[in-house]
Every structure is written in C-alpha cells, then in structure tokens.
C-alpha cells in the first residue's frame, strides 16, 4: 500500500514537473495560431523525453552516477567542457525565463509590475535550494502544478469542436495563410519545450539525491513512462483550449495571461485561481530545478561534492554555483527583456543542445560492462538511435529557423 502511494505521488509530481514556462508559452501560442496541427510535435517531444529520461534514470540507478559524470568520463575533457558550458548557459536562460514566468503570474494576480516581483522570485527560488528538503520541493510544487488539469476540464465547458481538433491532430498541415517556416519553427519549439536538458539533468541527479539503486528502476520507470506522458497531455490540453477561444478572435499570444484566457472564459474567477496557483507552482519549481541543474552539471563535471542531500557546507562549491546562477538569471530578467521571448529562445536552443547529453547517455546505457543486465534492450536501442537522428535534424534546423522566422514572428 505504501509503495503504491509513493508511486502515485511520484507520478503526480512527474506530471506537474513536466510542464514549465516553455510548455505554457509554446502550447498557448501554437494553439491560438495553428490550432492542433502541431500536436504531433508535443507527441514527438514527449516520446523523446520518456526515452531519454528512462535511459538517464536507469544509468543513474545502476551506476549511482548522474548525467554529467557520464558526459565527462565518456566524451573526454575537451568535448565535455563544451557540453557543460552549453548546458549551464541553457540552464541560465531557462532559469531567467522561469523567474520571469513566476513574476508574470504574480503580476496577473496582484496587478503590480512583474519587475518588482523578479528579485523576490529569485530570492525565493534560492531559499528553496538553500533550505527546503529535496522531496518537499518536488512534492509540494509538483502537486500544486496539477491544477493545470483545469485546462482539460475547460475543454468540456468551452464550445470545443472535437471533430475538427481531432482532424487537425491526425492530418497535420500548415494552416492556410500561415508561413511554413514559422510553423516548423514552432514545431521545433514544442519539441524543445518537452525535452528540456535541465529536466533530464534534474531527473537523473534527483534520482541520486533520493538514493536510487537498481531496485528503484521500476519506480523510476513508472514516473517516466506514466508521469511524463500525462504531463504531455496537459500541454496538449493547454493548446486545445486556446483553439475555441483565442483562434476565432485572431489573438496572437504574446503574454502569459492570454494563455489563461480560455479557462477564464470557461469558469471565470474560480478557474483563474486554479490557473494562477498551478502556473506559479510549475514555473517556481522549474526555477529552483533549473538553478539546481546548473549546480549539478558544473559540480559533476569538476568532481565536486554536490546535492541537497549534503549540508551546504559539505557541498560549498555546488551551492556557490547555484547562488551565482540565481543572481545572474535574476539580473538578466531585470534588464526588462521580455520573458516570453526569453522562453522561446530557451526552448529552441535547448532543442538544439539535446544531442550533447543524449548521445553519451545512449552510449553508456549500451555498455554491458557498466550496466550489467540492465543494459539497453535491442528495441530501446533502435528507438533511441531513431530518436537521436530526429534530434540531430532538429538541432541542425533550429538555429536557421530561429533566424529566418525572427523567433517565430
């Protein structure tokens, strides 16, 4: 019974943890602009995330070494430095986007400019890193993030044309009057929003924080195989809810409050309360997690002690990196750069960087001398290699698309 409870809790936090500012922004924009014609990108991204996280989690459980140990030991000192630098840079942009997201939610609730909230959001995220026990952090915000289910419920309340939505899902095509490069650009951004480097760093390092061993593999798999797809479903619901409300009015989503509009028109204030709490929880947890991920990647690369399971003084340099990341990202957000734009850049560049961490994990998960009987099965390898090819293509087209479409305008 206790095991079932803890698994359920794990799945629920995985659902809440999957959705962050990247999913909110990209799902809202694409739903309003392209209907459900890009639903396939969420499916591809989620499938990739499940595959990647399961492998990374399995490697961590068996070897007790999370992702950046593997990266440095397998790719050598030079390539892995590029890797660690790129990941840390992306973690920082993501962190800035999440801090911006938290502040925008607070602006929606209070009416006070988000810039006032930015330093407070940064400080609060750092306090969570500094003091809050790891599992509290995961559970509290993961569960509150589940409030986004209100988007699923709203679909039944809104004048949703299920038949038309379904048709767009199964026969995707660039909608009339929309430029094809922009459509593809948003496809890349949706994939990038689902398969985020920091989430994999966090998933595998978090497994170590919770003391995973080979016995934890089942629990880890349930989290990844059930939790993440349900998180992907929430992303799809946010996208679908935008279709009947925002598309007829021709609203181009450029603010976070527009993403909340469908729920507001379905349930009014009561629905908005759910949206605010869940958006806040999702972005706030993601802020703490992406800051931690900077610390995880640098400390693991350098061989420093890391993690919230040690008191801060026993992992001093890890905490220094986390603190410096929060300060840098807060300062960056305070430059008044638009958080929504930062989010788009973060997810697209994130998609471009996925192969950097994915490739070494695929190699180690295949190494029978390290993994023993937990080595990749043949079909996992086939799927993993297929997905690597997709991600390399995505990676190659992402930056040109970013430039051609001027970040999706």
């Amino acid at each position: 019974m206790k095991a079932v409870l803890s698994m359920t809790l794990g799945v629920m936090t995985a659902i809440g943890g999957f959705v962050d500012i990247g999913n909110l922004v990209t799902s809202g924009i694409t739903g309003a602009r392209f209907g459900m014609t890009l639903a396939w990108a969420v499916l591809v991204g989620t499938a990739g995330m499940v595959l990647f996280a399961e492998m990374a989690g399995r490697v961590t459980a068996v070897t007790r070494k999370p992702i950046f140990h593997v990266v440095r030991e397998r790719l050598g000192v030079r390539v892995s430095l590029v890797n660690a630098a790129a990941s840390t840079f992306l973690n920082l942009i993501t962190l800035a986007a999440e801090i911006g997201g938290v502040s925008l939610v607070l602006q929606m609730v209070t009416g006070i400019s988000y810039l006032i909230w930015v330093p407070l959001a940064g400080l609060a995220a750092w306090l969570v890193i500094w003091r809050m026990p790891f599992q509290w952090m995961e559970n509290i915000f993961g569960l509150l993030g589940l409030g986004m289910i209100v988007f699923v419920v709203a679909l039944f309340r809104l004048p949703t044309d299920w038949h038309a939505l379904w048709h767009q899902v199964i026969s995707p095509a660039v909608p009339a009057g929309q430029p094809a490069p922009t459509w593809w650009f948003y496809a890349v951004s949706l994939i990038g929003a689902c398969i985020v480097p920091y989430q994999v760093i966090f998933f595998s390092s978090g497994g170590r924080e919770e003391g995973w061993t080979s016995k934890s593999i089942t629990e880890m798999r349930v989290n990844a195989l059930i939790g993440f797809p349900l998180g992907g479903l929430l992303s799809l619901a946010i996208m679908a809810a935008a279709v009947p409300v925002l598309q007829p009015l021709n609203i181009q989503v450029s603010h976070l409050d527009q993403v909340a509009l469908p729920v507001a028109s379905a349930f009014g204030r009561a629905g908005l309360a759910f949206v605010f709490v869940s958006f806040f929880a999702a972005t706030f947890a993601a802020a703490a997690e992406s800051a931690l991920s900077s610390g995880y990647s640098v400390a693991q690369y350098m061989g420093w002690s890391w993690g919230k399971r040690h008191p801060p003084s026993a992992a001093a340099r890890f905490h220094l990196v986390c603190l410096a990341s929060v300060i840098a990202a807060t300062a960056f957000t305070l430059t008044t750069i638009d958080p929504v734009t930062v989010t788009i850049f973060a997810v697209v560049l994130g998609a471009a960087a996925v192969p950097l961490t994915y490739f070494p994990i695929l190699i180690v998960a295949n190494d029978a001398r390290v993994m023993g009987q937990r080595v990749n099965r043949r079909w996992v390898n086939a799927a993993g290699t297929f997905f690597l090819t997709i991600m390399v293509v995505v990676s190659l087209v992402s930056v040109p698309l970013l430039i051609i479409t001027k970040a999706g305008q």
């Binding site: 070897t63 007790r64 070494k65 140990h69 440095r72 030991e73 050598g76 000192v77 030079r78 892995s80 430095l81 500094w130 003091r131 350098m302 061989g303 420093w304 002690s305 890391w306 008191p311 801060p312 003084s313 026993a314 001093a316 340099r317 905490h319 220094l320 001398r369 390290v370």
Partner: protein
C-alpha cells in the same frame, strides 16, 4: 595495497577523468592527469601519483583556454611553481569501472583548498547553513 578490478586496461578506461571518492564516501575531485616515474634505470615507469587541479586540468584542455585555466590556477596557489596537486599512488584503495576510492579523507588532500575557501569565506557566512 591498491586493488584493481581489471588486469589490463588503458588510462582512458579506468583512470583519466574518473571520480575520486574519499574514505568517507565523499567526492574528492577528478583525475586530471597521471604522474609516472622511473624507479630504477632500465625499469619500466610506474604510476606514482594521480594529479588534480587547474594546473593539471589546463594542459589537458590545451589551446588558449587551457593556458588561461592553468595560469589562473597557478596564480591562486600558495606555493610557487605549477606542479599540480598530487595524490600519492599509495593512497589509492580501489579502482573499478565506476570510480577510484582513496584511503585518505578529502580534508587531507592538497586539492581541498578551494572547497575550504568557498566554505569559509562564502557559504559558511550565509545564515541558515546547518552543519
């Protein structure tokens, strides 16, 4: 006496970039380079120490970045000279596919200085650090 899990292996396989774990199970850095010495004339060289720290890491990076890394490391050192921090081969307890375990506690290694500095000057001064 060091225990080696494998009879024959390459430095890349089991030594370089591997994680060092001290006798209390705490991470103690990574192997940045190896020191080999020639015990007797005519004998083959033997592994005498694992080397860590920026002055070992910099040269391995190579290029301008490596030179900078090494230069910064050298300027932050107490002693003059750029010879890296040594972990004597006698302190190696166990080498396996996952990590290298040491016989000493990390507090007693030369490579501990940066961590101690961070702990004493920054992290230890922030309120709420429970030790």
């Amino acid at each position: 006496m060091t225990r080696w899990d494998e009879d024959e292996f390459t430095a890349n396989d089991l030594l370089l970039d591997r994680e060092l774990i001290d006798c209390h199970g705490m991470p103690a850095g990574r192997v940045d380079d190896l020191e080999l010495s020639d015990p007797e004339p005519g004998e083959p060289p033997v592994l005498t120490a694992l080397l860590c720290g920026p002055t070992a890491f910099g040269p391995r990076l190579g290029g301008r970045l490596g030179t900078w890394w090494q230069a910064i490391g050298r300027r932050l050192r107490l002693v003059s000279g750029s010879y890296p921090n040594r972990i004597d081969a006698g302190l190696i307890d166990h080498v396996d596919r996952l990590e290298i375990t040491l016989l000493a506690a990390r507090e007693h290694l030369d490579s501990y200085r940066f961590r101690r500095w961070t702990e004493e000057k920054i992290i230890g001064r922030i309120p709420g650090d429970t030790t």
